[in-house]
C-alpha cells in the first residue's frame, strides 16, 4: 500500500496545473465559479481546448485516441479541473457512448463515431428514460419497427440532459415484444436532424433548463446505426451505466465545494463571530469533510481495482450512493451558511446590495435544489442498492 504520488505523478500534477493556468480562459472559469447555468458555447469551447491538447477523452485507452491515463492521473486531472473552475466534461459521448462503441461497435462505427467525439465536433445526448420507464428502465416502450433497411422509431424519451445543444442521440428502443422486457431492447444511434424528432425543454426545480423531452414520430434510421446485435441493448445499457458510475463519486467537485463552504463560513458572521467558529456548524462541516476524505480513498481504490480487472465492477454503485450524498450535504451547508442571503432567485441580485456579494451569494440555493437530482439520475440510489444486493450480497 502506498498513497503517495510518484515523482511522475507529481510532475503530471504540475503539468495539469500549468495547462489550466494558461489554457482555461477567464470568462469560462468565471462562469463556472458563479455556479449558474453554462451556455452550450462555453462548454463546447472548453471541449475544443481539451481536444486540441488530447485531454478530452480522459478515460479512453491510447488505441482509440485517449491519453491512456492511469486512475491516479484521472483523479489528479479531475481534482485540478475543479480547483481551477473548469467546466465538467459533458459525459454522454466521452464517458458513455465512447466505451460502448469501443466494446460493442463494429469497425465502421468505430471509424465514424469515435473521431467526432474526440474532436468535440459531435455532441451526443442520451435517450434512455421515458415517462413510464424511469427506475424500471426495461419497461421502455419507444419502438423501432423494421422497414427494409431502416428502423422506424416512434415514442418518447425524457430527462435528455443538454439535448438542446446536441446533434446526435443514442437511444434504447424496443425491437421485440413477445419476450421478457430486457430481451427485446436495442441500442441505436440517431441524428437529431432526422425528420420526425422534436426536442422540448423541461424547466427544473430551480428554474433552469438542463433536460428535455424528445418525441419520435415515424423517425427513419438506417439499420446500420444499430450498435451490437438486435435485442442486445440491455447488456449495452448496463455496461454504459457502469461506466457512467465510475466518475460519479464527484470527488473533485466535492473537494471544491468543501473549500467553498469553508470560505463562506469564514466570511459569514453569526452571533458576533465567524460562522466557522460556531461549534454546531463546524461539526457539520467536519463530519462531511471526514466522509469526503474516506470517499477520496474509496474512489481511488475502485479506480485501481477497475484498472486491474480491466473494467469497473458493480461496487461502483457504492461511489454513486455515497458520493452523491456527500455532494448534496455540501450544497446544503453552502446554502445554510448564507442564511437569508441564499434566498434571492438566481440573477435577481447583481450587485453588492446584500451582506455578501455575488459570486458568493449567487446560485447557492439553486445549486442545492438542482443537486437533489444526483441521487435520482443514473439509476437512483435505491436502484444502486438493488444492484449491490444482487451482485455483492448475492441475495
Amino acid at each position: 500500500m502506498d498513497l503517495s504520488y510518484s515523482p511522475e505523478e507529481r510532475a503530471f500534477e504540475e503539468e495539469v496545473r500549468d495547462f489550466l493556468k494558461t489554457s482555461l480562459p477567464d470568462h469560462i472559469a468565471d462562469a463556472v465559479r458563479s455556479g449558474g447555468e453554462l451556455t452550450g458555447e462555453i462548454m463546447q469551447e472548453w471541449h475544443r481546448i481539451l481536444s486540441a491538447k488530447g485531454w478530452l477523452a480522459i478515460t479512453w485507452p491510447k488505441e482509440y485516441g485517449g491519453p491512456g491515463w492511469t486512475p491516479v492521473q484521472r483523479h489528479i486531472f479531475e481534482v485540478e479541473c475543479n480547483r481551477f473552475h473548469a467546466p465538467r466534461i459533458v459525459p454522454f459521448g466521452l464517458a458513455m457512448l465512447g466505451p460502448v462503441i469501443q466494446m460493442f461497435g463494429n469497425e465502421r462505427q468505430k471509424k465514424e463515431v469515435l473521431p467526432g467525439i474526440l474532436s468535440a465536433e459531435d455532441w451526443w445526448c442520451q435517450g434512455y428514460s421515458e415517462p413510464g420507464a424511469g427506475s424500471d428502465l426495461a419497461s421502455l416502450k419507444t419502438r423501432a419497427d423494421r422497414d427494409g433497411d431502416h428502423y422506424v422509431i416512434n415514442g418518447q424519451k425524457t430527462w435528455t440532459t443538454l439535448g438542446q445543444f446536441a446533434n446526435k442521440i443514442f437511444c434504447l428502443v424496443r425491437t421485440k415484444f413477445d419476450c421478457k422486457p430486457q430481451e427485446g431492447i436495442s441500442f441505436v444511434l440517431v441524428d437529431l436532424d432526422t425528420p420526425g424528432i422534436e426536442m422540448r425543454p423541461i424547466r427544473l426545480i430551480e428554474g433552469g433548463y438542463e433536460v428535455n423531452e424528445v418525441f419520435f414520430t415515424d423517425v427513419r434510421v438506417p439499420v446500420e446505426n444499430l450498435v451490437g446485435e438486435e435485442n442486445q441493448g440491455w447488456t449495452i445499457a448496463k455496461f454504459l451505466l457502469t461506466h457512467e458510475r465510475t466518475n460519479i463519486a464527484g470527488v473533485g467537485i466535492s473537494m471544491q465545494a468543501l473549500e467553498e463552504v469553508k470560505a463562506l463560513a469564514r466570511k459569514t458572521r453569526r452571533n458576533g463571530r465567524p460562522l466557522i467558529e460556531d461549534p454546531l456548524f463546524a461539526a457539520r462541516i467536519a463530519q462531511v469533510e471526514i466522509d469526503l476524505e474516506a470517499m477520496k480513498i474509496t474512489n481511488l481504490r475502485m479506480l485501481y481495482q477497475a484498472q486491474k480487472q480491466g473494467h469497473p465492477g458493480p461496487e461502483t454503485s457504492i461511489l454513486k450512493i455515497k458520493g452523491t450524498v456527500i455532494n448534496q450535504e455540501l450544497r446544503d451547508l453552502a446554502r445554510r451558511a448564507l442564511g437569508p442571503s441564499a434566498a434571492p432567485f438566481p440573477g435577481a441580485v447583481t450587485d453588492g446590495n446584500l451582506a455578501l456579494s455575488p459570486p458568493d451569494t449567487a446560485n447557492n440555493a439553486a445549486r442545492y435544489f438542482n443537486n437533489r437530482k444526483t441521487s435520482i439520475f443514473g439509476g437512483s440510489n435505491e436502484i444502486q442498492r438493488n444492484i449491490l444486493t444482487k451482485t455483492m450480497l448475492e441475495l
Binding site: L3, A282, E293
Partner: protein
C-alpha cells in the same frame, strides 16, 4: 500509488487469520475474554512467537515493521477474530519506548508485557488535563494519582504512566509489583485496570513527552480503527449468511428489500471505514497524522456503531443471545469508540483545525 498489501504483510495477515480461526475461535475466545485475567497468557505467548509484537516495531528498534500499514494488518486480523489479547498496550508502549530509544527486545519477544496508562477519570481523552504528578526522589521519582482504563493493565509486567513532572508531561516506567493495580473485565471482553499510585517508585523514561504521547495515541487510534474494520467485516459476513438462511413468511429474510438496502448501506459504510483507515495508516509518520487519524476515528466510531446496531436488529433475537457471535462483535464495535477518543472527541479535534 497502489492498494495491494506487500507479500510480507499478506503473509503475516494469513498467518494471524489462520491462527485465530484454528486456535482461538469464538468459544475459546469467550472462555478467556470474560474471565480473569481476561486473556489467555498461553495464546499471548504463541501469538508473540508468530511475530505480532515484532510487526509493530520498526527494524532499527529490533522489530520488522512499525509502519502504519503493519499496524493495520495486525489489528484488522485481531478484530476479525475478536481477539482479546492486549496488543494495544504493546503497540503504544513500543511507540513510547521507541521515542525514548529504550531497548525493546523483551517487548518484541513477548517476554515483558507492557500496558500504557494515559487517561484518568476526569481526563479520559484530553491527556493534557491529567492530575497525576511525579516528584523527584533521589535518583528516581515517585508518582501520585490514579490512571483509569489502562487496557491490559491486569497481569502486565510494566505500566508506562503519563504524569506531570512540574508542568510538563512525562512518561514513567512503573513495575507492576510496585503499583496497586485493580483489574476488571470489560463488557465487550478483555481486561483493563485502575492503577493507583501512592508514592509509587517510577523510572523516568521520557521528559517533555507531549509529542511522543500524541504519537502513541495516534498509533493506538489507528490500531482501533483497523480492529473495527476487521470486526465490521466479520459481522457483515455473519449477517449476510444469516439473511440467506433464516426463513420467515416462507422465504429467506434476505429477499426482503427493506433488509437488503440496509445491508448494502452497511457495506458502503464499511468500505468508507476501510478507506479512511488506509488514509490514516498512510499518514502515521506525516505532519498531519493527528488530524488524519482523528478523522478516521470519528468515521470508524459512527460506522462501527451503525454496523453493530443494524446487525443486531436485522438478525433479530438470536443476536441478543450470549451464544451467538454477533452479540460479542456488536459489543466490541460499540465499545471501542470509547477508547483513546470517541466520535465526538475526534470530531471536535477536527473542528479545531478550522480555527487556525
Amino acid at each position: 500509488m497502489n492498494f495491494d498489501l506487500t507479500e510480507d504483510r499478506q503473509m503475516l495477515a494469513d498467518t494471524l487469520n489462520r491462527y485465530l480461526a484454528d486456535q482461538y475461535g469464538i468459544e475459546a475466545r469467550n472462555a478467556s475474554a470474560y474471565e480473569a485475567p481476561f486473556h489467555d497468557p498461553t495464546k499471548w505467548a504463541e501469538m508473540s512467537e508468530l511475530g505480532i509484537a515484532g510487526a509493530l516495531v520498526p527494524e532499527e528498534q529490533g522489530g520488522f515493521g512499525g509502519t502504519g500499514f503493519d499496524i493495520t494488518v495486525v489489528f484488522e486480523a485481531l478484530g476479525k477474530g475478536l481477539c482479546p489479547e492486549p496488543f494495544l498496550g504493546t503497540l503504544m508502549a513500543a511507540r513510547l519506548l521507541g521515542a525514548a530509544g529504550a531497548d525493546m527486545d523483551a517487548l518484541v519477544s513477548g517476554e515483558t508485557r507492557y500496558a500504557v496508562g494515559l487517561g484518568e477519570i476526569d481526563a479520559a481523552y484530553d491527556f493534557e488535563n491529567i492530575a497525576t504528578t511525579a516528584t523527584a526522589s533521589g535518583e528516581a521519582h515517585v508518582l501520585n494519582g490514579r490512571k483509569s482504563a489502562v487496557y491490559g493493565g491486569q497481569g502486565a509486567d510494566v505500566i508506562l504512566v503519563l504524569a506531570k513532572l512540574g508542568d510538563a508531561p512525562a512518561i514513567f516506567s512503573v513495575a507492576a509489583t510496585e503499583a496497586n493495580i485493580v483489574g476488571y473485565g470489560m463488557i465487550d471482553g478483555g481486561g483493563a485496570a485502575e492503577v493507583l499510585l501512592e508514592d509509587t517508585p517510577a523510572t523516568l523514561l521520557l521528559q517533555d513527552a507531549g509529542g511522543a504521547v500524541q504519537d502513541a495515541v495516534n498509533a493506538g487510534r489507528l490500531a482501533l480503527c483497523a480492529e473495527a474494520v476487521g470486526a465490521m467485516g466479520a459481522t457483515y459476513e455473519a449477517l449476510v449468511d444469516y439473511l440467506k438462511t433464516r426463513k420467515q413468511f416462507g422465504r429467506p429474510i434476505g429477499t426482503f428489500q427493506v433488509l437488503q438496502h440496509r445491508t448494502v448501506d452497511l457495506l458502503t459504510e464499511i468500505e468508507q471505514a476501510r478507506s479512511i483507515t488506509i488514509s490514516a495508516a498512510a499518514s502515521l509518520e506525516d505532519a498531519d497524522a493527528t488530524l488524519k487519524i482523528a478523522m478516521a476515528k470519528n468515521l470508524i466510531g459512527r460506522a462501527a456503531r451503525l454496523v453493530a446496531e443494524e446487525a443486531i436488529q436485522m438478525h433479530g433475537g438470536i443476536a441478543m443471545t450470549w451464544e451467538y457471535s454477533v452479540s460479542h462483535y456488536g459489543k466490541r464495535l460499540v465499545m471501542l469508540d470509547a477508547q483513546l477518543g470517541d466520535t465526538d472527541q475526534c470530531l471536535s479535534e477536527v473542528m479545531q483545525s478550522y480555527a487556525a
